[in-house]
C-alpha cells in the first residue's frame, strides 16, 4: 500500500470518527433549522408558518405540493419550523413595517444561500457540493432550482427541462447532443445530462461524473462490453474513451471526434496502408475499403480490444 493510500484510509478514519455520532442509537432528533442569521434562533422569535401564509399564501401553497412540505418526513422544513426553517425566525419580520429581518434568498450571497440548503441537503447526490466545479464558480442552489416557483415538475428546476437548464451555460455540450449524425438519445428523451453527470459535484470522479472513478467507468455503466479486460488491448481505449469519441455527440459515425481514417492516422504512421493518403480517388476510382463504410474498422473491427489469440491487430 503506498503512502497516499494509507493517508486516504486515515482520512476516512477521521471522517468515520466524527460521523460516529450519527450512528449512535439515540432517538432521532428533529432536523435543526440552518442558521439564517448569525445568532441562534430564540424560541418565541418564530412567527409560525400560519402567520407567514397570511401574506405569502401562494408561496405557502406551492410548498405543500413539494417534498419540502412533507410534514411526516422529519428531514423536511415542514417538520421543523416550516417557512422559517429556511428564511429564519420571522417574528421580527412580521413586526417590522419595512419588512426586513428575514432571509430573502434573491439578495443573499451564493455561499449564504447554499449554506441554508446544505443544512438539509447534505447527503446522497448533494454530498459532493463543497469544492465542486459549480460551487467554485460561485453558483448557488437557486441558480438551477426554485423552491416556490419551479418550472419543471422534476427536481424543481427553473427551466422546463434539464437540457434547457444546462444549456444556459453549457451550450456547446448541449448543442453536440443535438448532432444529427451521431448522438446519445438525449433529444429523444431517453437520456439527460444527469444520466452521466451529477451537477452537484462528484466525490469520486472527474468532470462531475456520477458513476465510477474515471471517465471510462462512467461509460462502462451502459457499455459494459467495452470494460474487458481483454487479451489484446488497445492502449487509448483502456485509458480514456474520449481520446477517440466525443461523448456529447458528433457529426462522425459512432460519435468519433474525427472521422476515420484520419482519426487512426493521427497515431498510426507505419509503412504502407496506415499512412497512405486516402483522397477522393480512393473513393471514386479505387473505391478503397479503407474509405467507404466503416473505413479502418472494415477489417479492424475489434478495435476496443480482442480476446482472440490472433487478435494482435484487432481483426479477429
Amino acid at each position: 500500500m503506498n503512502r497516499f493510500s494509507l493517508a486516504a484510509l486515515c482520512l476516512l478514519g477521521v471522517i468515520s470518527a466524527r460521523a460516529a455520532g450519527a450512528v449512535s442509537p439515540a432517538a432521532p432528533a428533529a432536523p435543526q433549522p440552518p442558521p439564517a442569521q448569525a445568532a441562534a434562533p430564540v424560541p418565541g422569535a418564530y412567527a409560525g408558518a400560519d402567520t407567514c401564509v397570511v401574506c405569502h399564501e401562494s408561496e405557502g401553497n406551492s410548498l405543500k405540493s413539494t417534498p419540502h412540505g412533507e410534514g411526516k418526513n422529519p428531514r423536511t422544513p415542514a417538520a421543523a419550523h416550516g417557512c422559517e426553517s429556511c428564511h429564519g425566525p420571522g417574528q421580527a419580520h412580521v413586526d417590522d413595517d419595512a419588512k426586513g429581518h428575514i432571509v430573502k434568498f434573491a439578495q443573499t450571497t451564493p455561499a449564504a444561500t447554499n449554506e441554508t440548503c446544505l443544512g438539509c441537503h447534505n447527503r446522497g447526490v448533494h454530498a459532493g457540493w463543497e469544492g465542486s466545479t459549480h460551487e467554485r464558480r460561485n453558483l448557488s442552489c437557486i441558480t438551477c432550482h426554485s423552491v416556490h416557483n419551479p418550472t419543471a415538475t422534476a427536481h424543481q428546476l427553473v427551466k422546463a427541462t434539464e437540457t434547457q437548464l444546462c444549456a444556459t451555460c453549457h451550450r456547446l455540450q448541449v448543442a453536440k447532443t443535438e448532432r444529427a449524425v451521431a448522438h446519445m438519445p438525449v433529444r429523444e428523451g431517453k437520456m439527460s445530462c444527469s444520466s452521466c453527470h451529477n451537477p452537484h459535484g462528484s466525490i469520486t470522479n472527474v468532470k462531475a461524473l456520477k458513476v465510477g472513478t474515471s471517465v471510462n467507468e462512467t461509460c462502462y455503466k451502459c457499455h459494459a462490453e467495452m470494460r474487458g479486460p481483454t487479451l489484446w488491448e488497445h492502449a487509448p481505449v483502456r485509458e480514456n474513451c474520449t481520446t477517440c469519441h466525443d461523448p456529447h455527440g458528433s457529426s462522425n459515425d459512432r460519435m468519433l471526434a474525427v472521422r476515420m481514417p484520419m482519426l487512426c492516422q493521427r497515431c498510426h504512421i507505419a509503412t504502407k496502408h496506415p499512412a497512405s493518403i486516402y483522397d477522393n480517388n480512393a473513393i471514386t476510382v479505387n473505391k478503397s475499403n479503407r474509405m467507404f463504410g466503416r473505413s479502418c474498422m472494415n477489417c479492424h473491427q475489434n478495435i476496443h480490444g480482442s480476446n482472440h489469440p490472433s487478435g494482435q491487430f484487432f481483426m479477429r
Partner: protein, 739 residues
C-alpha cells in the same frame, strides 16, 4: 494566441468589475435573473399532490399534472430514410396511449405512490412506478426500452440467426471455382432486412431511512441488449466483408450502500457489482469467396466478440466539517475486473497448422484503485481556498502471454511483432489548488493551479507531467446580469521516451501519440446573462481554444475550437412568451503523416498533412402565444442545424507524392418544426393536436448511396448501409383526460 487570450481575459475581468460597481450602486431589490425568468414562466410544480387540477381551468393545458392520460393516434409519413428519422424512437402509425401520470397519497401524508407510462406498446415505451412511506422508505422501478434503428436499406445473403452466419454453399462453390467478381451472384439471394438493435432496461431501487441520519440503498439494474450491428469480417487485405452481427447480451448491476450523515459529517460505504454476459461471444461466418479451407484462404472465419466480464468494487466516502466553513471530503475505492473466457483456437482454418494455445482461458484481470481528498475552507471573510489530490491506478494483473505466431485473417501464419500482448497499465496523480476572492461583490475572482502526473506501462512515454493555470471571474447575484469567464493554460511534457517501442511495431520514431504527447493548451470561455426587466432575458457566450503538440514531428499537430452563442427570451404581460438562440461552432485539426515504404521510410519529402475542419450552425426559435380565446393554447418551435466538414490534404513541396485529389465536403442539415395545439373541451377533457415536420439532408462520401451503391463493391460484400436524407411528417391527435 498565447498573448491574445490573457488580454481578452483582462478585458472580461474589467467588465466584471464594472458589473460589480453597478451592483454596488444601490439598485432596488429584485429577484435574481433566474427566479425572474422562472416567475415569468407558467405553472408551479404539481409533482407530489394529485390535486384535481383538471378542474382548474386557469392552469395551462401544457402543464404536467399527476392525473392525466392522452389517448389518440399517430400518423407518420416518411419520404426517404425511415431508419435515421426514428433512430432512437418508434414513430409508427397507430393508436397511441401516452403521457399517463397518476399519483395518490393519503390525507395524512403518510404514503404516496406514482405511476407513469409513455408510448405504450411501442418500441420506445417507458414505465415507472414508485411508492414511499414518507420519511421511512421509497421503492421505485423503471422499465425503459430504447430502440436503435440503423437502416432499411440493408440486405444480406447471410442467414439472420445467431452465429454461425451461413451462405448458400452452391454460391460459395461457384465463386471458389471462378473469379471474385462473381460476388454479384449473391445479390439475388440477399433479401432486405431492417438493421436494428434495442436495449431493454429494468431498474429496481429501494431507499430506506431507518433513522433521520441514516440511508440504506439497494439498486438493481438489468439490461438486455440485442439485435444486429454492422460488423466487419474480412478475409484479406483487399477483401471486405460486412455481416449483420447477431448481438445478444445481458448486463446486471447491483449497488448496495449505506450512508450516515449528521450536521458535521457524512460517511458512506458501498458495494457495486457489475456482470456483463455476452450470450453470443464468438462469431463464425462463411467466407463469400470460397466454400472450403485452403492453405491460402479459409472457407469461414471465427472471431471473438466482447468477452463476458465482471467488475466488483468496494468503496468508502465521506466528509467532515470544521470551523470557518472548512470541509474535508475523501473517497477510496478498490475494484476487481475479470474476464476469464475460454481462448479460441488461433484459427478456424483446418488447412493451416494449429498453434498451441498459451493457456486455456484469458485470465485477464485488473485491479483498480482510486482515492481522492478535497479540502475547502473559508478561513477569513471574502476568501475561499480549495485543495484537492486524486490518485487513480489501473493495475494490469493479466499474466504475461507468449504469442510468437498468430494467424492473420484465418489465412496465413504471421510472426508477432511484440511476442505477445502488451500489458498496458496506467496511473494518475492530480493535485490542484484554488484561491477565490469575493471582496469585490458580487464578483468572485479565482486563481488555480493543477499538477497532473501520469505513469504508463508499455507506452512510448513512461510518464507525463502537466501544469495547468486557471483564472476565472464569476459574477452572480446582481439584479440584472450574471457573468462567468475562465481562462486556462496547460503545458504537458513526457518523460523517458522509448522510441524503440515505435520502431518495434514499424511506426515512425518521430511520431507521438497525442494522448501522451507534449502539449500546450490555451482555452477561454465566457458567458453573460442579462435580465434588464421581468419581460426580457439575453444571453451571450463564446469560447476559443487551441491545443498544440510541439515535439510531435509526425502525428497530431494542433486542434482548435471557436464558439459563439446568443439568445433572447421574452415573456410579455399578456402571456405571450418566446425566444431564440443562435450558435456557431468551428473546430479544426491538423495532423502530419508520411506515406512511405521501408526503403523511403526516412524521407521527409514524403510527408503529407490533413487539415480537418467543421463548422456547425444551430438556430432555434420558440413561441408560446397567449390563450386563443378562453380554451385554446398553442406552442410552436423550430430548430435548424447545419454541420459541414472539410478535409484538405497537402503534400511536401518538391516531394514524390502526387498531388492529392481533395475529398468533397460532408454536410448534414436537420430542421424540426413542432406545432402543438390543445383545446379544452370541458373541465376534464382536452383535445390535443401536434404536428412535426422534419426534413434532413446529408452527404457523407463514406456512406453515400452513390459510393455504397449496393451490397457488392470491388472485392467486397457489404450490407448496403448508407446515409440517406428524409422528409418526415408526423401528426398526433388525441384526447387528454385530466382528473
Amino acid at each position: 494566441m498565447r498573448s491574445f487570450l490573457p488580454a481578452v481575459f483582462v478585458c472580461w475581468v474589467c467588465a466584471a468589475i464594472a458589473i460589480a460597481a453597478q451592483a454596488q450602486s444601490g439598485q432596488p431589490a429584485d429577484s435574481t435573473p433566474q427566479t425572474a425568468a422562472a416567475a415569468a414562466q407558467a405553472a408551479p410544480d404539481a409533482s407530489q399532490t394529485p390535486a384535481p387540477v383538471g378542474l382548474d381551468t386557469s392552469r395551462s393545458l401544457f402543464d404536467q399534472t399527476w392525473r392525466q392520460v392522452q389517448v389518440g393516434g399517430r400518423f407518420t409519413s416518411v419520404d426517404g430514410d425511415p431508419g435515421r428519422f426514428q433512430r432512437y424512437q418508434d414513430m409508427r402509425d397507430g393508436v397511441l396511449l401516452t403521457d399517463f401520470r397518476y399519483a395518490n397519497h393519503d390525507v395524512g401524508g403518510n404514503w404516496l405512490y406514482r405511476l407513469t407510462a409513455d408510448n405504450v406498446g411501442y418500441r420506445d415505451q417507458r414505465y415507472s412506478g414508485s411508492y414511499q412511506r414518507t420519511g421511512r422508505f421509497v421503492i421505485s422501478g423503471i422499465w425503459d426500452e430504447i430502440p436503435q434503428f440503423y437502416s432499411v436499406d440493408t440486405m444480406t445473403p447471410y442467414t439472420l440467426t445467431a452465429s454461425p452466419l451461413r451462405l448458400d454453399d452452391a454460391t460459395q462453390q461457384l465463386i471458389q471455382n471462378g473469379s471474385p467478381e462473381k460476388l454479384n451472384a449473391y445479390v439475388p439471394i440477399a433479401p432486405q432486412f431492417d438493421l436494428r438493435e434495442r436495449r431493454d432496461i429494468g431498474t429496481f431501487n429501494v431507499l430506506a431511512t431507518p433513522t433521520p441520519q441514516m440511508d440504506v440503498n439497494a439498486a438493481f439494474t438489468t439490461t438486455r441488449h440485442r439485435g444486429e450491428l454492422p460488423w466487419g469480417g474480412s478475409f484479406g487485405f483487399s477483401n471486405d466483408v460486412e455481416v449483420p452481427l447477431p448481438y445478444d447480451s445481458r448486463t446486471n448491476d447491483l449497488t448496495v450502500g449505506t450512508e450516515w450523515t449528521n450536521r458535521k459529517s457524512m460517511l458512506r460505504v458501498a458495494y457495486d457489482g457489475s456482470w456483463f454476459n455476452n450470450l453470443d461471444p464468438v462469431l463464425v461466418w462463411d467466407s463469400p469467396l470460397r466454400l472450403t479451407d485452403s492453405t491460402s484462404a479459409p472457407g469461414s472465419g471465427r472471431m471473438t466478440l466482447w468477452p463476458t466480464n465482471s467488475a466488483q468494487t468496494i468503496s468508502g466516502a465521506g466528509y467532515t466539517k470544521f470551523p470557518h466553513r472548512t470541509q474535508l471530503t475523501g473517497s477510496i475505492s478498490y475494484g476487481f475486473w475479470n474476464n476469464d473466457q475460454p481462448l479460441q483456437p488461433f484459427t478456424i482454418n483446418s488447412a493451416l497448422p494449429q498453434i498451441a494455445l498459451p493457456r486455456t482461458t484469458a485470465e485477464a484481470s485488473a485491479h483498480v484503485f482510486s482515492a481522492n481528498a478535497n479540502l475547502v475552507s473559508h478561513p477569513v471573510p471574502d476568501w475561499e481556498f480549495t485543495a484537492r489530490i486524486r490518485e487513480y491506478h489501473y493495475n494490469n494483473n493479466t499474466p504475461a502471454t507468449a504469442i510468437s505466431s498468430y494467424v492473420s485473417y484465418d489465412t496465413s501464419v504471421n510472426t508477432s511483432l511484440t511476442g505477445g500482448p502488451e500489458l498496458y497499465a496506467h496511473s494518475r496523480t492530480n493535485v490542484e489548488g484554488d484561491a477565490t476572492w469575493t471582496g469585490l461583490k458580487p464578483v468572485a475572482l479565482t486563481a488555480g493551479f493543477s499538477r497532473n502526473d501520469a505513469g504508463y506501462d508499455a507506452r512510448i512515454f513512461q510518464s507525463t507531467g502537466e501544469n495547468v493555470l486557471r483564472l476565472s471571474a464569476d459574477a452572480v447575484g446582481t439584479q440584472w446580469m450574471t457573468f462567468h469567464g475562465k481562462y486556462e493554460y496547460g503545458s504537458r511534457s513526457g518523460s523517458d521516451l522509448d522510441e524503440a517501442l515505435l520502431v518495434e511495431i514499424g511506426e515512425q520514431p518521430s511520431m507521438r501519440h497525442y494522448d501522451l504527447a507534449n502539449r500546450t493548451r490555451n482555452q477561454f470561455t465566457a458567458i453573460v446573462d442579462m435580465v434588464p426587466n421581468d419581460q426580457w432575458a439575453f444571453s451571450v457566450s463564446g469560447g476559443t481554444g487551441k491545443d498544440s503538440y510541439p515535439g510531435s514531428s509526425l502525428g497530431l499537430q494542433e486542434t482548435t475550437f471557436r464558439t459563439f452563442s446568443a439568445g433572447a427570451d421574452f415573456h410579455l404581460p399578456n402571456g405571450f412568451g418566446g425566444g431564440g438562440t443562435y450558435n456557431i461552432e468551428r473546430y479544426g485539426g491538423l495532423q502530419q503523416s508520411r506515406s512511405a515504404d521501408s526503403s523511403t521510410f526516412d524521407d521527409p519529402l514524403r510527408n503529407w498533412t490533413a487539415d480537418t475542419a467543421e463548422t456547425v450552425h444551430y438556430f432555434s426559435l420558440y413561441a408560446a402565444p397567449p390563450r386563443i380565446g378562453r380554451n385554446t393554447e398553442a406552442r410552436v418551435s423550430y430548430d435548424f442545424s447545419h454541420a459541414e466538414g472539410s478535409y484538405l490534404y497537402t503534400v511536401a513541396q518538391g516531394g514524390p507524392l502526387p498531388a492529392p485529389s481533395q475529398l468533397p465536403n460532408v454536410f448534414n442539415k436537420l430542421q424540426q418544426l413542432h406545432v402543438d395545439v390543445r383545446h379544452r373541451l370541458s373541465s376534464r377533457l382536452a383535445a390535443s393536436v401536434s404536428y412535426l415536420y422534419e426534413p434532413f439532408h446529408i452527404y457523407d462520401f463514406a456512406f453515400d448511396p452513390t459510393v455504397v451503391n449496393g451490397i457488392v463493391q470491388p472485392s467486397s460484400l457489404v450490407l448496403g448501409y448508407v446515409y440517406r436524407p428524409y422528409s418526415a411528417h408526423s401528426a398526433q391527435i388525441g384526447l387528454r383526460y385530466l382528473w
